[in-house]
C-alpha cells in the first residue's frame, strides 16, 4: 500500500464514520437498538482501519525521510 492509498483510505474512513455517527444517533433516538449496534460496529471497525492505515503511512513517510 503506497502513501497515496493511505491518504485515500483515511479520507474514506472519515466519510464512513460521519455517516455512521449520523445513522447511529438516528437509530438510537428511534430505539432501533439492533441497528445502533450494527452501525456502531461498522464505525469502530472503520476507526481501527484508519488507525492501522495511519501507522502504515507513518512508516512509509518517515522511512522515506531516512532514505534521503
Amino acid at each position: 500500500m503506497d502513501k497515496k492509498m493511505c491518504w485515500i483510505l483515511i479520507f474514506v474512513t472519515i466519510a464512513v464514520n460521519v455517516v455512521m455517527v449520523q445513522w447511529t444517533v438516528e437509530s438510537y433516538l428511534g430505539r432501533e437498538f439492533n441497528q445502533v449496534v450494527i452501525y456502531s460496529g461498522i464505525s469502530v471497525v472503520s476507526a481501527f482501519i484508519a488507525f492501522f492505515v495511519f501507522l502504515n503511512w507513518r512508516k512509509l513517510e518517515y522511512a522515506e525521510e531516512n532514505q534521503q
Partner: protein
C-alpha cells in the same frame, strides 16, 4: 535533511533543517500547519468519530435488555367522546402520552412530548391534528408523522387495545408508518 532528532522534528528546538530554515517568517505556522499534521489530524478525527458511537451501542445493549410491554389501563372508552382526548403516562410516569378519539371515530395514542423540544402536544379538534404550541409543530393525528413546523421525527406510537369498554396501552413503537 538530517535524520537526527526525529522525535522532536516539529519542535522549535529541533535540529531538523526544515525547522531551522532562516528567513522563514511563518516558521510557527509551517510547523503547525503542514501536510503531515493535516493527515494526522484527519486520522485522529476519523478515529474519534468512530469511537464516539461506542457509548450509544453500550446504552443500546442496556436498552435491549429492558422490557417495556407492560399492559396499563388508560380509561373507559365511554368517557371519551369523538373529538376528545385525554392524557396519561406510559410506559413510566415520566412519559406523558395522549389518547385521542378522533372525529372519524378512531382511537390513537402517542407519547405527547414533541419530538422537537419535548413540549406537550395537544389535539386540535377543529383541524383534526396534533399541535405543539411551543414552535407551531403539527403532527398527523392518524399516524403521528410531522406535517408542519420544526419537528422531524414522528411521535412514538402507543399500541392500544379495547376490552370490555376499557382502553389499555400494551406497547410502544418509536418508528412506525
Amino acid at each position: 535533511m538530517t535524520n537526527e532528532c526525529k522525535k522532536g522534528r516539529n519542535l522549535k528546538n529541533s535540529k531538523s533543517d526544515m525547522v531551522n530554515l532562516t528567513k522563514n517568517v511563518d516558521q510557527k505556522d509551517d510547523l503547525k500547519y503542514n501536510r503531515r499534521s493535516f493527515l494526522k489530524t484527519a486520522a485522529g478525527a476519523s478515529i474519534a468519530l468512530g469511537l464516539s458511537t461506542v457509548p450509544f451501542s453500550v446504552r443500546a445493549m442496556m436498552g435491549m435488555a429492558e422490557e417495556e410491554n407492560e399492559r396499563l389501563e388508560i380509561g373507559r372508552l365511554d368517557q371519551l367522546g369523538e373529538g376528545e382526548s385525554m392524557t396519561f403516562n406510559y410506559p413510566t410516569d415520566n412519559d406523558p402520552a395522549i389518547l385521542v378519539h378522533t372525529v372519524n371515530g378512531d382511537l390513537v395514542a402517542y407519547n405527547s412530548a414533541c419530538t422537537h423540544l419535548m413540549c406537550p402536544v395537544f389535539y386540535k379538534k377543529e383541524e383534526d391534528i396534533l399541535l405543539c404550541p411551543c414552535h407551531k409543530g403539527y403532527f398527523d393525528v392518524n399516524n403521528g408523522q410531522p406535517v408542519e413546523g420544526p419537528p422531524q421525527r414522528e411521535l412514538p406510537l402507543i399500541e392500544i387495545e379495547v376490552e370490555n369498554g376499557i382502553v389499555y396501552a400494551t406497547g410502544r413503537k418509536y418508528r412506525h408508518g
